[in-house]
Symmetry: D3
Subunit: 249 residues, 6 copies
């Protein structure tokens, strides 16, 4: 069930049977010569969309711009500062918690978001903690590749050249969901170099075509289908477990 | 051309032929008993999507959460504070301007966003103005119903009961684009009351089912199709005019 | 009754008979070759001052610096960033609401303030809306030229060349109230050009003498007197209506 | 010369002969049973107004709301948070410095403002200091009672019961300038108590009628006249000295 | 008793017998050719450390970075912006007040901190004052040289050349506590010049070796011992008086 | 070499031979029934102190308060909000980078700091990345237990009951450095439970004595000595490698 395709009255009824919501969250940033700029927010959106076909879960609109400052040297990247990101996640959370959502699950598609999202959680909890009161909600961050079994499947599919950015697994997912947008290019070198992540110009100097440690040529739509199917199943189970967790306090 | 379905290299090439980009921007908020929560961001996304089939224009990812504090009394609404909204629009703008975009066109779908978006533009321009230097870009806000001819068509389609929120025109647009998500309900009264906009509880007390002055029962997918087609054509012309405007300075 | 010429005990007694207060709010910015830099905050101050002679209303100190970033290319302009403006309006509101004022009426003299003031209202209401509680106060913005009958009078007085900035109507108001400060100049062209509003250098390039679409030479003190008198009467009525509105909730 | 009664062209010419500007700055806050709520911003405004009759100096609009959180327990007080105050002083400064003002003199009327204004100066200088560059301007804070000779005169006029808040000297200044607004009351005790300054409720509990250590009954318009005349003369000299100071660097 | 060398259970027990805590606060900044960069935070830390040997008082960790923007022209200086400083003091205060501390005593070692710390206090009190409620705690700022008798002793020890920065008294304190870190240099002139404090480059131009009005050559460890001993005794008495003050309200 | 025990002239000379600095950073928070509140900032301070005996490295003052909101349910904990933490790390970095430090190494002692520190790095890099310029410095975060070999040693020393908070390894380090502050208590259960980290009240409910998964009774000063010695050696090597890394760009 997609929140954006529902009426408020339908959400009111959903809240009578569940207090859990999933927010697909990612980034809009370069993904190498063939990866789509939307890859990191499309992957969790695709997986969440598949999962809601299998179970009575609620999917929030996608939080599509994240923390991608190091990719700003490549055209098309859009980034929030961490401070803006933290403020926005706070507003989303306060909006949803005020409706009665008690378990807010962020399904993340961008490793560079993790620190800022966790900092945002702490910033939100601070309100309750400084006042020594209960917040009334629990926040959970989960990268889609950390859903049960997914990382193992990706390693089986791509034993070498998986890398850290513009990985064949994320590109496979978008190939399956958006087959008309599949791009091709010659990669040189076949597996991209790695290195520390600093500001945008430094990143582009180190990674001239945008990839980090990856060989996206291995991606296929079929591998994407396998990843999405497994991830969607695992997401349903993860949400069920999160829903049954005792509330903070 | 959708930015999120492109590679950075494709955007680099696009910048050689154009410096203009469209950002669909809206809100995720209650739209009465039958309107979809995503209506206000889906409408500009739908129109921009149609327009990019007709012309070589570039569509950014949709900015889907706006300023909707007064709707927070209805489940499913998600709102940013104006200060967060301003910060985020600033980061989007700085990201895009740094790539060389000089004309940034916000196609808006939510009246309640207007003040905050304009305040955001002023906040961004302040950086150049305090320093008495040129910004290097121009920002434009346009509500989709203010595109040439659109308001007249809506008034012709809905001579009474168009109203200000959960209007039949916006609902028609979503009915055309998402036919499987069309909802129905009995409206009472048929045309909803109007009133001042203050905080969320006050809004819900004044507008118990969420509508303001509207009768959404008049919406049909066909009327939506007409609106989208006209708006898309007008958007292409508006972008062309904006692109040809002299740069600030 | 002016708050600044009262003691706290007098305000305490005023609150027993009314919960309404007027804040004249404007901007300090260039107004063409003959307009005073203080025009936009002096006009609402003058009108409110006249109104309090006619009725038992309370006038707060004048909020004299607003959002005028686009005028910073002309010496003497002072501007707040929208974010600062929003913070300050919030502090004024919280100060007054804590004393028991329930209806806070901003009488505005600068079109460029409107977006930021409305964004400020939303920012303030957010505190109540996120918490799903009542704010306890209502905020209203009214430009002095939107007081009942005033715009019609101005159009009658100045059928051509009224324009949008450094208008003959606002200059007439200051001529009447500050007759010793009337300035004169040759205008070229007689009616100034118009255009989009962006950053300061762009504004000055488009509007070399600071005017937008106006011919201030038509201003006279007598026309100013008529405007002030009518506006003061309409303000008293507007405040009465606002005072009798039901409180939010 | 008052900036608000000038045109931008007049300020442009003033800048050719001087780079110095005076900002009267104060607070709008309770001043005991007989003191006017505007006392603290009216005093520097009155003195600056008198000084500009004697010399070619430029007076900015009055910054009329300051840091008065401890007075919020008394109706009519309006306060900024220090963080808002700092932001606003920064925007005033950046606006003026961008026009070419190099010496910005804040003539202050409220002791409670001092810390926040000095913090604001440091905040502004930080921009230059972190970048290890020159700011291009110098900021100076001067309380009107610290102008040469003024404190001695006040002590001669009021050897006992001058106190720290709602002092007879500041009330005398407003009596002279606003004779129609002189108020009277019985004071009990004749000289008010003193104590630490904390939050608003604490302040009102310690100082039930708002005074701190003062006996305002000693104020007379004539004493006010003497204070204003002396302060105005000293202000002219202070500005002259400040103007001749070498620029930072 | 040092908080950092205690367990939470020991602090829980301390709160049963006292609600007062001391925070040594200073700055890390250049102190002339021989003064240590840590002088301003080490002095209050040293004095507080000595005092806790004499009485059952609790010393918080040292707040070691303050507002030192004007010293940034000298290597080793680290400064917070006032806005950051205010935010951080707020968080410290909220953390401690939530544990039940009601009297929070900031023992300060840097004159340049005073304005920002006082502004921070006002910012914190604003939360209670805007809401017209009690804060539940009292904040006190005391420079170590303002502890009873200390300034007189320093003047007796250093009748000339005490100055305002890199003073012989503060250097004596660090010489006593850190005898192995005593430095020497030729001073030229023997007593440094004074002047206004603006941005960093200006400060270094006016005070080429970093001193302001001081002759640190007069410092000796023995004089430092006398200062620390007296200051520690006075601190114990000041804390006792502060503890016995009635709570705000 | 400790910065706080140096003069500015000594730092100026240091910068001629190295552009690298170490900032010990931690938290002041409960560490179970026997751990010291200062454990997390003392450990990196102790290790850095030991390392500077072995090599010509420069140690900044300790950043002693971090992000510990979840521990605020236990007396003595002091926490910054992530937003404050980010602002402060930015000011430290700008201060040091302005002096010419190009490699800033944060030696961290608190797992809960990691997300906020990484978010701070991104926030700082954003300034350069939005402007598409080079920052001129590189930032590195390293937990002391991630220094080469340290984690392996700790696992050898404490094969069971090491846990995540109030670990025997960190307590051993403080026992070695502060032998007089060693505390003892009966632990029940011997190995503490684990669980998710949310707000403060929830944390205390889940972990009644403050420990997470650890058995601190295994700590001994001798094990602490081994850890410090190894960590200090590895720190020297890590700094050397970091110093030799190519600069961003």
């Amino acid at each position: 069930m997609f929140l954006y395709l529902s009426t408020w009255a339908e959400i009111e009824r959903f809240l009578e049977r569940s207090r859990t919501i999933v927010i697909p969250i990612g980034s809009n940033e370069q993904h190498g010569p063939t990866g789509l700029l939307g890859t990191d927010w499309m992957c969790p959106e695709i997986i969440a969309g598949e999962a809601q076909k299998k179970a009575d879960i609620l999917i929030a609109p996608t939080f599509n711009i994240g923390m991608a400052q190091h990719h700003l040297g490549f055209p098309g990247t859009i980034s929030l500062r961490p401070s803006t990101f933290i403020a926005a996640i706070g507003d989303w959370t306060r909006s949803l918690a005020g409706h009665g959502f008690e378990k807010i699950f962020f399904l993340n598609g961008h490793g560079g978001n993790v620190a800022s999202i966790e900092a945002a959680f702490s910033e939100i909890y601070c309100e309750a903690s400084f006042a020594r009161r209960q917040s009334g909600f629990a926040l959970k961050l989960c990268n889609w590749w950390d859903l049960e079994g997914v990382d193992k499947l990706a390693r089986d599919q791509f034993p070498t050249g998986h890398g850290m950015h513009a990985t064949p697994s994320e590109i496979a997912v978008t190939q399956w969901a958006y087959p008309n947008s599949t791009k091709s290019a010659d990669y040189s070198p076949q597996i991209a170099p790695s290195g520390p992540i600093r500001e945008a110009l430094d990143f582009r100097a180190r990674h001239p075509d945008g990839r980090m440690g990856s060989d996206p040529a291995q991606a296929t739509p079929e591998k994407g289908r396998q990843l999405v199917e497994l991830a969607a199943q695992s997401l349903v189970r993860a949400l069920d477990a999160f829903s049954r967790e005792a509330m903070p306090g």
